[in-house]
């Protein structure tokens, strides 16, 4: 089969010949490897090669989309996408104007992680697994490692032709402890934009995580109810992603008049200390890139500045419909999906409070750290902490079973009354939306304090 570069140049010529308001194509070539452990033994190891692509067409406001692995007979696929778009067409095509771009963006990594010998990857995982298994009372471990190296070509009927390369590494370690019928687990997620060194030298963290799983067996469960809660940077990052980030994605908002009223720019959402940013333009994080999957350059977008809503995330279509500037946030996890509005690297900007300042005057509260996961329904969010402690009289007290926090976004942002000085970005995990998961993103925050947060429990 021909390389995607050859096919790309042929297709670029052809795209202009069809009668659609706009046509774009994505071609993709990727290699990946994975290693998983369940228990002592390596469970699965494999290599994957993928070639695929898609064509997306816009006709009078309607979209057609065709994805495929077979790169033969591309004109027929373009025709099908245009025909589907024609069936949908029921309005005006609106796309925010962007300059056509011709560019080549290399992966900028020293070493392609996929090409590294499997022995080297396995050795690191063996070391981590040994640490987990050396922990007394530990029942088993689950380790999932994956890496990928991907070359994509984006081309459009308006003349863009962008080749981008990126690499990604994701590692998730889970320790499971049991006693009688009790089962407890803890996890650690780390990742990087292709730099294998970023996941090495984590032995101490792995050891802590393993010990923690065992300690949880004898920890009490918190009584459900409202608490003052302090979140560590990892969990606060998940919170900003879940609770506010998804609400800033304009595809939820642009055709929803009531939500548009709620999300009016200038509206106050939190204290004047609160700044929330999404930026794919910061280099080297898992959500970083130069151009999004519509060929729009990445930007740094303030979503909340000094407590007020000042921006949101856009695709070309949502930007045009809301008469705002495109932000370069249209992303697809791979060629099987059309790009949709997504976050990149999302974080709360640091302020001045130290950790002691934040917990010092809490009589009874909860310190929640680390994460299992989180989800949102726009208005309501839930996220779960992997680690939790009571705070009593300004001091960290006894350990608790993992807690689930929930709340109303609008009330909760307003209830953030202290923001720390210790911003950290978390590179583990991934984001899911519209059936597209896991998308590489990062999120971060300093320590934050939230008043009146609802915790599930006994």
């Amino acid at each position: 089969m021909p390389h995607i570069e050859v096919v790309g140049h042929q297709l670029a010529e052809a795209l202009r010949r069809y009668s659609a308001d706009y046509i774009e194509a994505h071609l993709e070539e990727s290699q990946s490897s994975h290693i998983t452990y369940r228990g002592r033994e390596l469970e699965s190891i494999g290599r994957t090669t993928v070639i695929g692509g898609n064509v997306r067409a816009l006709v009078r406001g309607g979209w057609g989309f065709v994805s495929f692995n077979n790169l033969d007979e591309l004109p027929g696929k373009v025709e099908l996408a245009v025909k589907q778009a024609g069936l949908v067409s029921n309005g005006e095509s609106e796309l925010a104007a962007v300059e056509p771009v011709v560019d080549t963006v290399p992966a900028k990594i020293d070493k392609n992680p996929v090409a590294m010998p499997l022995t080297e990857k396995k050795q690191l995982l063996d070391e981590y697994n040994d640490i987990i298994w050396h922990t007394p009372k530990l029942q088993t471990s689950i380790i999932g490692y994956s890496d990928s190296h991907k070359k994509t070509i984006f081309l459009s009927s308006s003349g863009s032709y962008i080749e981008q390369e990126r690499a990604d590494i994701n590692l998730r370690l889970t320790a499971v402890a049991t006693e009688g019928n009790e089962v407890q687990q803890t996890g650690l997620s780390i990742g990087s934009r292709g730099d294998f060194k970023a996941i090495t030298n984590r032995h101490q963290q792995v050891e802590q995580m393993s010990r923690h799983a065992v300690e949880l067996l004898s920890a009490p469960q918190v009584k459900g109810g409202e608490y003052t809660v302090v979140l560590d940077p990892v969990l606060a990052g998940v919170f900003v992603h879940e609770a506010f980030g998804h609400l800033s994605e304009s595809d939820f908002v642009y055709e929803n008049d009531r939500l548009r009223q709620i999300m009016t720019l200038g509206k106050k959402f939190g204290s004047s200390e609160l700044n929330i940013v999404d930026s794919a333009a910061v280099a080297g994080l898992r959500g970083s890139y130069k151009y999004d999957d519509e060929g729009v350059p990445a930007t740094k977008s303030y979503l909340i500045r000094e407590g007020r809503l000042v921006g949101r995330l856009h695709s070309r279509e949502t930007a045009a419909k809301m008469k705002e500037k495109p932000t370069g946030n249209a992303r697809a996890i791979n060629y099987r999906y059309p790009p949709i509005v997504r976050m990149t690297n999302t974080y709360i900007e640091p302020r001045t409070a130290s950790f002691e300042d934040i917990i010092g005057d809490i009589k009874e509260g909860i310190y929640a750290k680390n994460w299992y996961g989180g989800t949102t329904s726009m208005e309501m969010f839930t996220f779960s902490a992997g680690e939790a402690y009571m705070i009593r009289n300004g001091k960290i007290a006894e350990m608790l079973r993992p807690v689930v926090l929930t709340g109303n976004v609008f009330a909760t942002l307003n209830n953030i009354d202290a923001i720390g000085n210790d911003l950290e970005m978390n590179q583990g995990g991934g984001c899911g939306k519209g059936g597209q998961a896991p998308l590489p993103v990062s999120n971060g925050s300093p320590h934050i304090r939230i008043r009146h947060c609802l915790i599930g429990g006994k």
Partner: protein, 433 residues
């Protein structure tokens, strides 16, 4: 495929080639309007080999690059797990109906009409609701061949219809939704639309729940969102083998309420989870998991079964294109004798849970769940009085399913992977603002 197998046999003791190709056509509505028509075709081939006793694995979408595929599998086999299993030789398969040629011939125009009708019906009831809808048709073909002469091949059709509605009043949001799937075309929108209208009716008024333990009825959707994932993890033979399943050493013992019966069943005619064999070519079977509250079986693929000194239950699944691993096909819970209305009538003060958000982010292995009530209703003196919000429901499935007040008489399919009646539980922890 045959040439991949031939090449692999030259360098390995055993080899198996698995090929899957699919075509899927979703027709999508956004903000009450037709927005997107897609056509997704994909094909990939996976090679599993046993070389010097160890398992090697590689996949590709490039059918004509068999040498690279074989090389990759050989490289990984140096590190792979020791193979304990034997691939199946030529086997007879049960007749499982999962393909209806009529699915492919449903026209795009007809699918558009279905979506429009769903949205129109819901908006006639509630004009200011914003709906997303989807009608999807698809066909999947699977073919497996191996070095012991085993071969399997089948086709499956899938049609699904779904709608989600959002109703916003000030900053209050209500989410309703329903979907249905089948291997037959679904050309009637009535059942899906009516379920949504009923949710809208029940959610019209607001009610508040106290922070205390309350009787709770989990509807089929509610059970799927809170209780089923921990069960699926616990009955997974791999979790059992690792000693991480709370019921792993309780085979033959009463763990659940006596009224509870559960099967894994890939043989129900025309259900999306059905197939004549699993992804390793092992014939499909209906496996009892809970019999009258007693743990009856766990689910296995070939390798896990061999390591656990038992037989595969035909549950080898290649989720996300990886090596086969035990996975349920469809969980089926037997109906009981009590109607949903009788359950509600029986409650003085309690909840009906239709959707619990984020319930299974916690310690799934231990059976814990804790989630925000995305859609749920308050029951007072035997009547649903309105929708509850800002409410968390938490518990442990082993405590909750140990004593069930009643199991519903009406079963429903949820998401193609679960068939269950409503479950009425006497006491579940509720926390609210």
């Amino acid at each position: 495929m045959e040439n991949i197998l031939e090449q692999a046999k030259k360098v390995a003791e055993e080899a198996e080639v698995f090929m899957v190709s699919s075509e899927e056509t979703p027709v999508q509505f956004e903000a009450n309007r037709l927005k997107h028509i897609q056509n997704k075709r994909s094909s990939s081939v996976a090679l599993r080999i046993v070389r010097q006793g160890k398992i090697g694995y590689a996949t590709t979408t490039e059918m004509d690059d068999s040498q690279n595929l074989v090389n990759n599998a050989v490289e990984t086999a140096q590190f792979g797990m020791t193979a304990k299993f034997e691939l199946p030789s030529l086997t007879a398969y049960p007749r499982v109906e999962a393909y209806d040629p009529d699915v492919e011939s449903v026209s795009l125009e007809k699918m558009i009409e279905l979506g429009e009708k769903l949205i129109t019906t819901v908006r006639e009831h509630t004009p200011d609701i914003l709906c997303e809808a989807e009608a999807t048709k698809g066909v999947v073909s699977v073919r497996i061949i191996n070095s012991r002469g085993g071969q399997a091949n089948y086709r499956k059709s899938i049609f699904s219809l779904g709608i989600e509605g959002t109703l916003i009043r000030d900053t209050d949001m209500l989410f309703v939704g329903e979907s249905e799937s089948s291997c037959h075309p679904l050309l009637e929108t009535k059942a899906v639309a009516e379920a949504v209208l009923q949710q809208l009716e029940l959610a019209k008024n607001r009610a508040s729940a106290p922070s205390q333990s309350l009787p709770v009825v989990f509807t089929p959707n509610g059970a799927a969102s809170a209780l089923i994932l921990p069960l699926m993890a616990a009955f997974n033979g791999k979790t059992v083998l690792e000693g991480a399943s709370p019921i792993g050493n309780r085979l033959g013992q009463p763990v659940f309420d006596k009224k509870l019966w559960l099967w894994d069943d890939p043989t129900v005619a025309y259900r999306p989870g059905s197939r004549p064999c699993d992804d390793e070519g092992i014939p499909s079977q209906r496996t009892p998991l809970i019999k009258q509250g007693t743990v009856a079986n766990f689910l296995y693929d070939l390798q896990t079964a061999a390591r656990a000194h038992t037989q595969s239950t035909g549950n080898g699944s290649r989720n996300r294109g990886g090596l086969p691993s035990p996975s349920p096909s469809a969980f089926v819970i037997a109906p009981g004798k009590t109607s949903f209305d009788e359950m509600v009538n029986d409650i003085k003060e309690g909840l009906v849970i239709e959707q619990l958000m984020g319930a299974t982010q916690g310690n799934i292995l231990g059976g814990d769940f804790s989630g925000n009530v995305l859609l749920g209703y308050k029951v007072e003196s035997g009547k649903i009085v309105g929708r509850v919000k800002d409410t968390m429901v938490s518990g442990n499935i082993y405590q909750i399913l140990k004593q069930i007040t009643a199991i519903g008489s009406e079963t429903k399919w949820v998401g193609g992977f679960l068939n269950t009646p409503p479950l009425y539980c006497p006491s579940v922890a509720v926390a609210s603002k």
